[in-house]
């Protein structure tokens, strides 16, 4: 007695999951390329422009264009990581040394299960969000799982048995704990704003948050302070410059991954960029209206599969511009000192997030009350 429908469902889900992983990993790989290209552009260099596949180079216009854009560079980088000699230093704790890159990558990839990227109205008029698992506490799941990512860095720092990686690991765990608080607090006003009295669906669902921005303002406009705090905390959580304390090259050699080489370093690298891709996607969903067109405007595309496709494309465009913003900041601002990072987190961002929360409690209460008294 085999339930074929169940098997079919599982197979489809697995295929979707692989597609999603493929999409995110491709985006992560190409954000590495984007990083190199954008930094080159900002510093007046050319950037990667030599790598090309054997036959593609001879295609008249497209070949040279792809070559100039460095489109095959991520492939070459990945292969380079794979084929490098696997060096394990003698003084490391082997088990945790091997475990750390995996622990760093898995949470980054797990958060994508609750990441909606579009919406589709089928023939019966039922709206289906395009998402792997439509959890009604989506954003909390993202926060919880991404907070596990710190173990990868801590373990890498500790198992290397070497002082610079250890310092990097310690710094990173302190930084992540500090900025998680501000991040969580900055999101509370968003939930307050989105949730309607007596609604059955909780406003912690990412789909619900995006729907609330459909045809009305983006949350960036009504809650600029929340967005700012969330963005800063996102930079800190993804260990991006100006917050890249865990791996600041100038004072910690390479930070937590000093002792890592070849593909294990590659995994750390990809995990960092996967974090950036997913972080940008989440910021887009929360504050930039997700797959909705522009503030105060209905979507100009329909609700059928074509519209869903365009909406998804629009969402990806927003995400990519946010990734560009991440890169732009990296090549513009200098790195903070460690005490400045802690100072900013605890004495500036946290009180600001609390004040922001209290302010929006009053605003939302006032709005709700005036709505109740209206009729």
């Amino acid at each position: 007695m085999i339930d074929y429908e169940l098997i079919q469902l599982i197979v489809i889900k697995v295929i979707f999951a692989f597609l999603m992983v493929g999409a995110i990993m491709t985006m992560a790989g190409y954000s590495v390329l984007a990083e190199r290209k954008v930094s080159a552009w900002m510093q007046g260099r050319v950037g990667p422009n030599r790598t090309v596949l054997p036959l593609v180079g001879y295609v008249p216009v497209v070949g040279s264009l792809l070559k100039g854009l460095g489109m095959f560079q991520p492939l070459a980088d990945g292969l380079k990581f794979l084929f490098k000699e696997e060096i394990v230093p003698g003084h490391v704790n082997k088990f945790y040394y091997y475990l750390a890159p995996i622990v760093a990558l898995v949470p980054a990839l797990t958060t994508m299960t609750v990441l909606p990227f579009g919406e589709f109205v089928n023939a019966e008029g039922v709206t289906i969000p395009l998402i792997l698992a439509d959890l009604d506490i989506g954003i909390l799941f993202v926060l919880a799982v991404s907070s596990l990512g710190v173990y990868g860095i801590v373990l890498a720092g500790w198992s290397s048995n070497s002082k610079y990686p250890f310092l990097g690991g310690i710094r990173s765990s302190a930084q992540m704990i500090s900025y998680e608080l501000a991040m969580g607090l900055s999101l509370l006003p968003v939930f307050l704003w989105v949730s309607e009295p007596n609604s059955a669906v909780s406003s912690l669902s990412l789909v619900e948050i995006v729907r609330s921005q459909q045809g009305s303002t983006w949350l960036l406009i009504v809650q600029p302070i929340s967005a700012l705090i969330f963005l800063i905390a996102l930079f800190a959580e993804t260990n991006r410059l100006p917050f890249d304390m865990p791996e600041s090259e100038t004072d910690l050699v390479g930070g937590f991954h000093t002792e890592y080489g070849s593909f294990k370093f590659g995994i750390f690298f990809v995990a960092e960029y996967a974090h950036i891709v997913i972080g940008s996607a989440i910021f887009t969903l929360l504050f930039l209206g997700g797959w909705n067109f522009l503030p105060w405007m209905d979507n100009p595309w329909g609700a059928d599969w074509m519209g869903a496709l365009i909406g998804t494309g629009w969402f990806i465009i927003k995400t990519i511009s946010l990734i560009f913003f991440f890169i732009w900041i990296r090549w513009t601002l200098p790195r903070f000192r460690y005490d400045q990072v802690m100072n900013l987190g605890w004495t500036k961002l946290l009180p600001l997030a609390l004040a922001n929360l209290i302010f929006y409690i009053f605003v939302v209460t006032w709005l709700d009350q005036s709505n109740l008294n209206l009729p």
Partner: protein, 165 residues
């Protein structure tokens, strides 16, 4: 696993067991509790544990002086046998969980303000309503206790600084 002498390994096993408890919550359809479990314990508390273990650099020799081995071995044997017994009992006379409908029910706010009972539900709203109405006093008291603990920590850690300057 429980007997592990190595502090970092022990902390990692504790993280695994906390994530396992979260997985059990997921199987009970209590997604909110599961996420909170990971967010608070695995994501924040255990990071601090690990942080302190690494800072103090406690080696695997730390526990050798005591008779921990015997005690923890006995405890492990006892808990494993207990686990087997409980598992057998559960397997022998367990049915299926009731079907989902009532589990996800969202309470009506009007019902709560007029002193009705809670609907048993794993919906996030239910937790909020419960904490802010029926269980307001325990919530406030636990908040106050946490505040007291925080003030205590500040007093204890600021003591030295006063003597210096």
């Amino acid at each position: 696993m429980v007997c592990s002498k190595h502090p970092v390994s022990a902390a990692m096993f504790m993280i695994i067991s906390l994530v396992g408890v979260a997985a059990l919550f997921v199987l009970l359809e209590a997604f909110f509790l599961a996420v909170l479990q990971i967010l608070v314990y695995a994501g924040a508390v255990m990071v601090l544990f690990l942080f302190i273990i690494m800072l103090l650099d406690v080696g695997p020799d730390a526990g050798k002086a005591s008779k921990m081995k015997l005690v923890s071995g006995l405890a492990a044997a006892f808990s494993i046998s207990l686990l087997i017994v409980i598992f057998l009992i559960i397997v022998q006379d367990s049915g299926w969980l009731p079907e989902g409908a009532s589990w996800r029910a969202v309470p009506e706010s009007s019902m709560l303000t007029q002193g009705g009972n809670f609907v048993f539900s794993t919906a996030v709203k239910n937790f909020g309503y419960g904490l802010m109405t029926k269980y307001m006093l325990p919530l406030q008291i636990s908040g106050f206790l946490l505040l007291a603990a925080m003030v205590g920590v500040i007093v204890l850690s600021k003591k030295d600084e006063k003597e210096v300057g």
